[in-house]
Amino acid sequence: MKQLLRLRVNGETKEVAAETSKTLLEVLREDLGLTGTKHGCELGECGTCTVLINGAPLLSCLMLGVEAEGVEIVTVEGLMQGSQPHPLQQAFADLGATQCGYCIPGILLTAKALLDKNPSPTREEIREALSGNLCRCTGYSKILDAVERAAREVGVL
């Protein structure tokens, strides 16, 4: 059965009729066309579908769309500041932190939540924060480097 949902996504209110059984991941991708958020396992094991809910990283595959009313949702599409990339996006691109790129939206959002809370994390704190996001391509090295660089830049801004 469908229900009319009123969702706050990337600073915009969206009304959408969606199946009540759909996860937030499915509502975002299938009903709102925000395909930047990716499926990885649908079981909360890989971190690929991470979005920000009121600033905290949460797995959109473990949350129903109907549970997401009345919260602020940020997806990877909401990271750009106008036409300017977020320092995390710029650092990931510049330092070769993306290979296949499939895990990157979830990692960027997890990293953003970390930097919002802790603007100058140590490398160990970054490791800890990203430990729920699997990446099979990079060996994580360049991802850690990119978060460190973005942290330095965010600190300056």
């Binding site: 059984s21 991708r29 299938e30 925000l34 395909t35 930047g36 958020t37 990716k38 499926h39 990885g40 396992c41 649908e42 079981l43 094991e45 890989c46 690929t48 997806t75 990877v76 599409e77 990271l79 750009m80 990339p85 995390l88 996006q89 710029q90 990931f92 691109a93 510049d94 330092l95 070769g96 993306t98 290979q99 296949c100 790129g101 499939y102 895990c103 990157i104 939206p105 960027l108 970054i126 490791r127 800890e128 990203l130 430990s131 729920g132 996001n133 699997l134 990446c135 099979r136 391509c137 990079t138 060996g139 994580y140 090295s141 360049k142 991802i143 850690l144």
Partner: protein, 791 residues
């Protein structure tokens, strides 16, 4: 080939698609939605081995929202990646050969209805005895217990045997002989993106298939064969691959079924596999048992080696014919080996089929050889680095099995990692519980022979120039994250003296792009790069002719740099690239050129010599430092130093990324990842939670040292980087565990329980099955074809 003065090559530029991947704009297969699209699902066998008595689909077909149900009878034509072993069916016709083998497919309005429809399909199975191990496969010789009927010996897919050089006399000359047995457990690719394909048919009887595939060209062939459509009516578009590692290199059931379902329903159809299904589709690392015997002089000089491998292939052939050869081919390309005997066999078992995973058939023997050499060095009282350094293969030589070595930077790789890791200070000197280990390896930069043996190019590139100075590069290659799109842009930008951002890349679309065989065997940089350079040079000849006339400068004094075509002697004398193109277009008409690449001939000419040759071998050396807790058996890797001879780094960021990713994947394989099955034939760990892979917390700091050797076969001197650096890390960890706690673990992965059993003296040695290999093919070095060396 130019070796210096580059403007693009060697620079740490961002990948051309990097920002799209950081904004969510990159469209992977599952991100594509087409109007009127239906969703497909596959019904998979719950039994590992069974005869299909009947499949009844009436109830499913009548369910509201179901538009088509198909079974094996609808797609009976067999297919497979290798032309010699086409033993797969899109949907099983008579038998299922592993739990997970698809038997029916449905297309419905949505996935929920499609799943309900699967429950309404009745399959009557006659359960057969499953074969679940190498030993059992070799023991089940009765015709009644065959998994396939096409192969000669029951459950043996392929057995090979070779003798290179004078094996027995060389063993006679040896002063000491050592023997070891090893087992390398299977594991899977686990790309973050699940498999996904879409198809659309019509209106002009043309089929379009989008798929997350590493090999659109081979999918094109398989679709044509199974659907009975000419290739000219089929368009395959490979979408950006969200991780492949070899796992998306076969044509798959879901790709054939979406096409058939789209043809039946007249509507687009998409199938996305679940994570659990991805574990059963597999095609990953083969479990391999290995036995090795080596004769050496007292100073450690290798005299002869005899190597046997036993591969657990799973239910179908996949790439297995090549894999069995790869478990024997590259033992000879690191250290001088005067005589070598190799025997290998791949068996069928009722498990998901194994195939190529990063390193394809070579990580298993490399693990065995490098641990074996570590043991030999210790018994002879020689430092294991010194043992290798005294007998490294030389450049411009041919190995005992006929493999041509162009360049090797292995010495430099070893010396540099040893210096950075302070090897001499640490080896056998760290306190109990801490250890350091070393290993080295080599890998191919692309297979020397294509999968379909023909005279056509392995890679083609077409370049179009337009009057605004725009450059569009068309190539069949598919970016799987390694950066193959960027490689094309860098090569062309370097040649034309423009910014890579000014170049448009169109790839992996069989309607638009010349064939490239695919993103496998670490072939893409060398082959597409060379093809791109050839196309560039054809266009440069025209542009230089025009510029020479316009500038009154001899053509051989012209260069392209900083967006100009200009005199080398008087750089101020030049015209812009765009103006030069405009003049050329005025004179010659529309400007375009093609380039293609085929690897050089290889020297050996014996049957089976097609696996192993390559334009150029990459070399790697690794040192691993770790802690091993003798109470819990836990291993914590502190640091990995990896030296990799990549020929020339097109872009150091990308090469480091490939190297670090390889190190990471190796650590997963050696420490935790296991593709293992229950007696029921079901996977033990078919989820990301249970199938352990390294997170940020288990992945150590990695120090990457790139060694450049300027290989004459590679574009700008480049060799591969995507697979080779995985190889030495696995044995280096095993050797470091021995250095830490004094126990040899001859089985991968090294889990804590194995360490504890070994420390308590309860770890059983690896057992090796007995098997009558065929009589060997004998070959002597020098018997082959003379091949010219480039300089």
């Amino acid at each position: 080939m130019r070796k210096s003065g580059f403007s693009v090559i060697g620079k740490p530029l961002p990948k051309i698609d990097a920002m799209a991947k950081c904004t969510g704009e990159t469209r992977y297969a599952n991100d594509i939605e087409l109007p009127r699209m239906l969703y497909g699902k596959l019904l998979r066998s719950p039994h590992p081995h069974a005869r299909i008595r009947s499949v009844t689909t009436g109830r499913a077909a009548r369910l509201e929202g179901v538009f088509a149900v198909i079974t094996g009878q609808d797609l009976p034509e067999k297919f497979g990646i290798l032309p010699a072993t086409q033993d797969e069916e899109a949907l099983a016709v008579e038998k299922v050969r592993y739990a997970g083998d698809p038997v029916a497919a449905v297309a419905a309005s949505n996935e929920v209805i499609a799943e309900k429809a699967l429950e309404l399909i009745d399959v009557e199975y006659e359960i057969l005895k499953p074969i679940l191990s190498i030993e059992q496969a070799l023991a089940e010789t009765a015709e009644s217990n065959r998994i396939h009927s096409w192969n000669r010996r029951a459950n043996v897919q392929k057995a090979v045997s070779f003798e290179f050089g004078d094996v027995e006399p060389s063993f006679q000359k040896a002063e000491q002989i050592f023997e070891d047995a090893f087992f390398y457990q299977g594991n899977t690719h686990l790309p973050m993106e699940q498999y996904c394909a879409l198809a659309s048919y019509g209106p002009a009887d043309k089929l379009t298939v989008w798929s997350s595939t590493q090999t659109p060209h081979y999918l094109h062939r398989a679709l044509s064969k199974v659907l009975g459509l000419p290739m000219s009516r089929i368009r395959v578009i490979a979408t950006p691959v969200g991780g492949g590692f070899g796992g998306k290199s076969d044509p798959f059931s879901h790709e054939l079924c979406v096409a058939k379902l789209a043809m039946i329903t007249g509507r687009p159809v998409k199938i996305t596999l679940t994570r659990e299904e991805s574990f059963y589709v597999h095609r990953g690392r083969h479990p391999v048992k290995m036995w090795v015997r080596t004769g050496v002089k007292n100073d450690g000089t290798l005299q002869a080696m005899h190597f046997k491998s036993f591969l657990d292939g799973g239910g179908y052939s996949s790439y297995g014919l090549a894999t069995v050869y790869y478990t024997g081919a590259l033992q000879t390309v690191t250290y001088k080996l005067p005589a070598y005997k190799f025997e290998g066999v791949r068996v069928f078992t009722n498990k998901p089929p194994c195939g190529p995973k990063r390193g394809h058939g070579t990580p298993q023997p490399r693990f065995a050889v490098e641990v074996h050499l570590d043991k030999i060095a210790e018994k002879l009282g020689i430092d294991p680095l010194d043992l290798r350094l005294k007998q490294l293969v030389e450049p411009n030589t041919v190995t005992v099995n006929g493999l041509r070595i162009s360049t090797t930077g292995l010495r430099e790789c070893i010396e540099k990692v040893a210096a950075r890791a302070q090897w001499k200070k640490k080896f056998r000197q760290l306190p109990f519980g801490r250890g350091i280990g070393f290993a080295a390896s080599a890998y191919i930069s692309g297979a020397g022979l294509p999968i379909y043996w023909n005279e056509m190019p392995h890679s083609g590139v077409q370049i179009r120039l337009d009057r605004g100075g725009g450059i569009t590069v068309f190539c069949g290659s598919i970016d799987i994250g390694q950066g193959s799109d960027s490689i094309l842009a860098y090569a062309v930008a370097e040649e034309f003296g423009v910014d890579p951002a000014d170049i448009r890349i169109v790839t992996a679309d069989t309607d638009l792009t010349p064939v490239d065989l695919g993103s496998y065997s670490s072939r893409v940089t060398v082959m597409t790069g060379n093809a791109a350079l050839q196309a560039c040079r054809k266009l440069k000849e025209i542009l230089f002719q025009i510029a020479s006339e316009a500038l009154e400068v001899p053509a051989d004094d012209l260069e392209m740099a900083e967006g100009q075509v200009r005199s080398r002697s008087y750089p101020k004398r030049g015209i812009s690239f765009a103006a030069c193109v405009e003049k050329a277009e005025s004179k010659f008409g529309t400007l375009g050129a093609t380039g293609s690449y085929r690897p050089p001939r290889h020297p050996a000419n014996y049957k089976g010599s097609g696996v192993g040759p390559t334009p150029a071998y990459s070399y790697s050396a690794a040192i691993v430092e770790l802690r091993c807790d003798s109470v819990t058996g836990e291993i914590k890797v502190d640091k990995v130093w990896i030296g990799h001879d990549c020929g020339r780094a097109f872009n150091p960021l990308l090469v480091e990324g490939q190297t670090e990713g390889s190190v990471y994947m190796a650590l997963g394989e050696v420490l935790m990842e296991e593709q293992v099955f229950r007696k029921s034939g079901l996977h033990k760990y078919p989820s990301i939670l249970e199938y352990k892979s390294p997170t940020t917390l288990e992945t150590p700091e990695i120090e990457t040292i790139l060694v450049e050797t300027d290989d004459p076969e590679g574009p700008f001197g480049a060799k591969e980087a995507g697979q080779g650096p995985l190889l030495p890390v696995i044995p280096a960890v095993v050797n470091a565990v021995y250095d830490a706690v004094g126990v040899r673990i001859d089985e991968i992965p090294i889990t804590p329980d194995k360490i504890l059993r070994a420390l308590e003296g309860r770890l059983k040695p690896v057992s090796i099955p007995s098997f009558d290999f065929p009589p060997p093919i004998k070959w002597q070095p020098g018997q082959g074809v003379q091949v010219e060396q480039k300089s």
